[in-house]
């Protein structure tokens, strides 16, 4: 394993270079092995051929020596057969024969000593390759044969030379013919066989070279395959140090891509891949840190949104004193907008409350005055004789004679003089009308108009607020925030509906009050006109009883109409009171003063208690008691 680590410590370029060098070395070795084998084989064959050529030349020369010896012996005999043979010539002939014999002997011995295959193991190996190992035995046999025949011939020649030297020419001739020539031919034949063996040796070397070529082909194939395998092994080893680790790195990055942030790349060695693995690990650490930071921010936002939502629920429950925590994050900005909206809404409700109180005062005054007026009219009617009940309204018949109104100073003031009473009544009616007109025109319209305007403004603020929240909601993601935003939007919608209802009620009230005032005004105008006509009718009635009676009747009629008008005003005031009550009950749930922040528990209690609005009916009960007597 330590070897492996050493490789991994190398840079990739260095490792590749090493791999290529090893591969090149393997290829060079393979080529070298083949080449050396080939060159050895060629050199061996070359040596063999060279030896064969030398031997062949030597043997061929030897053959010519043998032939020369034969012809020289023949010539010696011719020289000897001359009439007076020259001793010197014969001695020269004998010397030549001996010299030739020595030369031939030398050649043959040289062959036997150095030319034998047995003495050359490399040549023998070559013949073995060709399957011609028999040739070594044959060579030995043939050289023995050549030596044996030479020996016999040499003996015959020595005998011949002996006879010549003794001048025994007859015996010399006999020896030459009987033994010399035949043994010479035997020696030649044996030498010829030895020379021919060289041909067979040469062809055997050819065969051997063919075998060697085949062997070399096989060797080349084996070495090539071996080199290929070795190079492939080197390549595989090099690529294994790269590919497997790259694959591992890829697997790790894929795992991280799929969210498994606890995965880390293994770092082995000190090469580029190890550097990349280290970089990947560092990158993953950074990403994990960033993710943690983002999660913390998200949690903080979710907490802030939860707070805001809680505040909204409190506001929804009617507590407008809440002020949400403001910060510089989106939720904080939302909270700021929320605070602003709640503040404006709170001011609107306060103004509406004030208006309602003023309206209540007006309504109470109107009720009081109309009640007084009714009791005054009723007392006037009670003084009129019962003989003229023709145009008495059904309501007047039902009016019970109750105590509280009978002690009214207006009624007693009306009694002494009808004329004065009418005048006073007329004046009162006119003043009442004016008061009513004034309150209608100036106060009520203004107040109600202001209320409507405020409601519309609040509605617009709520619209903007919900728009803002929607924008924030679309900008940010996350379940909690979205849910919070939805709840806020719901609350705002509810609030907007309430405001709309309030606006409608105010408008309705304005409309009702306006129409009632119009009716009241018309009735008062009619009453005033009737009162103005009465003195004109009264003047002629002074003249006659009938006229007076008619005037009396007319007065009674006016009274009755005034009473019915007062009853209408009374009813109007009661309806106004009822509307005010309704408005008050609409805003009674809001807590406006002492904007102390509430604890979470309180907020929750408030928001849960929102479903049951408080029922305060004291004013309604009192007014009901008041009008139940009518």
């Amino acid at each position: 394993m330590s070897r492996r680590n050493i490789f991994l410590d190398l840079k990739i370029a260095g490792r590749l270079t090493l791999g290529f060098l090893v591969a090149a070395l393997v290829a060079a070795l393979a080529a070298g092995v083949v080449g050396i084998q080939r060159s050895e084989s060629l050199s061996r064959q070359n040596d063999f051929y060279h030896t064969l050529l030398q031997l062949n030349t030597s043997l061929t020369t030897g053959r010519s020596f043998l032939q020369l010896m034969n012809s020289k012996a023949q010539q010696t005999l011719e020289d000897a057969s001359a009439p007076n043979p020259s001793h010197e010539t014969l001695a020269g002939d004998v010397a030549a024969l001996n010299n030739l014999a020595a030369l031939y002997n030398q050649r043959l011995n040289a062959y036997a000593q150095t030319g034998l295959l047995d003495q050359h193991p490399d040549q023998l190996a070559l013949l073995n390759e060709a399957g011609e190992e028999n040739l070594a035995v044959q060579q030995r046999t043939l050289i023995s044969s050549a030596q044996r025949t030479w020996q016999v011939y040499q003996t015959a020649q020595q005998e011949f030379v002996g006879y010549i030297s003794a001048f025994d020419f007859r015996d010399a001739q006999t020896t030459f013919q009987q033994q010399g020539q035949p043994t010479n031919s035997d020696a030649l034949s044996a030498l010829q066989a030895l020379i021919q063996l060289n041909d067979r040796l040469a062809s055997a070397v050819d065969d051997a070279s063919n075998v060697e070529v085949r062997n070399q082909l096989i060797t080349t194939l084996i070495v090539t395959i071996g080199a290929f395998l070795a190079i492939a092994l080197v390549g595989w080893f090099i690529s294994e140090t790269l590919v497997r680790r790259l694959r591992h790195l890829h697997r790790v990055t894929r795992a991280i891509e799929e969210g498994q942030f606890n995965e880390r790349a293994q770092v082995a060695g000190r090469d580029e891949i190890a550097e990349v693995a280290l970089a990947v690990n560092a990158m993953v650490e950074t990403i994990v840190g960033l993710l943690e930071e983002t999660r913390q921010q998200r949690d903080a936002l979710a907490g802030a949104a939860e707070h805001l939502f809680s505040d909204m629920r409190i506001v929804n429950a009617g507590d407008l004193r809440v002020s949400a925590t403001v910060s510089d994050d989106p939720i904080g900005m939302l909270a700021n907008a929320f605070n602003f909206t709640v503040g404006r809404f709170r001011r609107l409700v306060l103004r509406t409350q004030t208006t309602i109180e003023q309206l209540e005062v007006i309504a109470r005054q109107s009720l009081e005055r109309s009640t007084n007026f009714i009791s005054l009219v009723r007392s006037q009617l009670r003084d009129v004789p019962t003989s003229r009940p023709t145009s008495a309204s059904p309501t007047s018949a039902r009016v019970p004679s109750t105590g509280p109104l009978q002690s009214d100073p207006h009624r007693s003031a009306l009694q002494p003089s009808g004329q004065e009473q009418a005048e006073t009544l007329l004046q009162q009616v006119q003043s009442t009308r004016e008061t009513l007109l004034q309150s209608t025109r100036e106060e009520l319209n203004k107040r109600l108009g202001g209320a409507r305007e405020t409601v519309e403004k609040a509605s617009r603020s709520i619209g903007r607020l919900s728009e803002l929240i929607s924008t924030r909601a679309s900008a940010s993601t996350g379940g909690v925030t979205e849910r919070m935003t939805q709840a806020q939007l719901q609350e705002l919608a509810t609030m907007e509906q309430l405001l709309h209802k309030l606006a409608w009620e105010v408008r309705q009230t304005q409309f009702n009050v306006a129409s009632d005032f119009t009716k009241l005004d018309a009735a008062l105008v009619g009453l005033t006109r009737a009162a103005g006509e009465r003195p004109e009718a009264g003047r002629p009635s002074d003249a006659s009883e009938g006229a007076l009676l008619a005037a009396e009747m007319q007065y009674q009629e006016v009274l009755r109409q005034a009473g019915s008008f007062a009853v209408e005003v009374n009813a109007l005031a009661k309806r106004l009171a009822a509307i005010i009550q309704e408005m008050r009950s609409g805003i009674i749930a809001f807590r406006l003063e002492g904007a102390a922040p509430l604890s979470e528990q309180e907020k929750r209690e408030r928001s849960s208690a929102f479903a049951e609005p408080p029922t305060e009916r004291s004013f309604a009960a009192s007014s009901g008691n008041l009008f139940s007597t009518w």
Binding site: L116, Q138, Q154, T155, Q192
Partner: protein
């Protein structure tokens, strides 16, 4: 492919192969380059045939010198076995005809090239010669050891019998190579394979059973040492060396 074998003598085989009648001509003798000048004529030595002198069973002699043999067959010096410390029996030399390789070898290596006397009894085949020697009192002849018969007595030459060791040591020279002559044999051909087959240990072993000597068995102690020049001459012609060789020459 089948092989026809025919006899006729050592020269017959040589003549037939040079005239392309047969593929392989067997012979005991060397082909004279002057008589058979074809350079393609190739000599294959396949084994060694030792020859021996034989006498009829009534001649109780175990050894003769070369000189004595020459005097019996060529000069006619000895005509009665009593001259050679034997019984009083006329010496009857029985010889082979001129075509015989055995006769040629006998003349060359025993008689030293000398002619046999004329008017000697001539027997054409070795088998007949065995019978003739066995049935003729005082008869002497020569043959290959392969046809040696218990009816006749082999005798040593100069004290050496026809054994492998005597041949290898150079003391016994009455032997010959068995030649197989061919023409134009290409390597790997049928004839070539047959010649190689003849040299296989199986065939050589078979030849041993016929009293031939396998070619590989003849290993001279040292090839050069076998050839001391005059040794054989002394061996063959001890008297002549005394008579004709002198230092001054």
């Amino acid at each position: 492919m089948h092989i026809d074998v025919s006899g006729g003598g050592s020269l017959t085989g040589l003549n037939d192969v040079t005239s392309h009648k047969v593929d392989i001509g067997n012979s005991d003798i060397y082909a004279d380059p002057a008589t058979y000048p074809d350079p393609d004529l190739t000599d294959h030595l396949v084994c060694i045939i030792p020859f021996t002198m034989i006498v009829s069973s009534d001649v109780p002699i175990a050894n003769l010198t070369q000189e004595q043999i020459i005097d019996i067959f060529t000069t006619g010096k000895y005509t009665n076995w009593s001259q050679l410390q034997g019984p009083d029996l006329r010496i009857v030399p029985i010889v082979r005809p001129a075509t015989s390789g055995t006769r040629a070898t006998f003349r060359r290596y025993v008689l030293g090239g000398r002619d046999e006397r004329s008017n000697l009894v001539t027997i054409s085949s070795s088998q007949d010669l065995v019978k003739a020697v066995a049935n003729t009192p005082g008869a002497i002849g020569y043959l290959a050891v392969s046809v040696l018969d218990p009816q006749v007595h082999p005798i040593s030459i100069d004290g050496y019998a026809a054994t492998l060791s005597n041949i290898a040591s150079g003391h016994y020279s009455f032997w010959s190579y068995e030649h197989m002559y061919t023409l134009n044999v290409t390597s790997g051909s049928l004839v070539d394979r047959f010649l190689n087959f003849m040299l296989t240990p199986q065939v050589q072993q078979q030849a041993t059973l016929l009293h031939y000597i396998p070619i590989a068995d003849l290993k001279f102690a040292q090839v050069s040492a076998y050839f001391p020049g005059a040794t054989l001459s002394v061996l063959l012609y001890p008297e002549k060396r005394k008579r004709y060789f002198y230092e001054s020459f």
